[in-house]
Amino acid sequence: MHEELSLHILDLGMNSLAAGATSISIRVSEDRARDRFALLVRDNGRGMGRAAFVRALSGRGSTKTGRRRAVGLGLAFLRQAAEACEGRFRAASLPGHGTVVAARMRLSHVDRPPLGDLAATVRALALAAPGARLRVACRAAEETFAFDSQTDLNLPSPA
């Protein structure tokens, strides 16, 4: 597990870019009334076939990598965090279409990592793939925040 949930989001976003995504969508919400924290990361990358997907969820990573590379641990780490916080973890991937990862956890759970510096995560992802469209939507209490690299950074649309 990572120390902050925003670091889990960064990890997932970097996975998306490694999979060739040109569009990444991130949603984060805090709902005090339902005591729920939720995050979702969706991409249009090359996706994973069944075998690769099962390996990723079990923390094995790519078969191309050697024993000492941490590629592919991100999904397993987030799943662990969700499970530790009475939460739920869901992921789906379709080769040629993309991957979506969603985690939910009890907002007030004592083991829940803090969200942390989400702005730094978005900054890093925007830098990591200037050609990709990065969309972020956050909701907390009465406030919302939205970011779209296409409109907010005056970037040309990806082909």
Partner: protein
Amino acid sequence: MNLDELKKLKEKAQRQVALREGHKKYRVVFSMGTSGIAAGARDVMTTMLDEIDKRGLDDVEVAITGEIGLVDVEPIIRIEEAGGEQVTYAKVNAADARKIVTEHLEKGKVVEGLAVGKAKK
């Protein structure tokens, strides 16, 4: 969730992207795979970007790559000089990051104690 930082983000991100226009003397590459993230690479990146911003250095381009597999020595930062050397720094913390900006990027002096590799591009 503190949305204030997120709101300031748009301006910072716009400035970063503007930096990518044209050929730059220096290219700073951060490794941000799972092990880099675990070692604190994101926060080192933030410190460095803010320092570059603060000093108004515009001859610098920033890039981020994924997992490079050097699990024991991250955070790793590579500085590439146009037509010149490529220097790799390892186990970089926030204070080191600021030093790399002031010494290497601003004055062109490699920070010897931190550098672990040098190569011609």
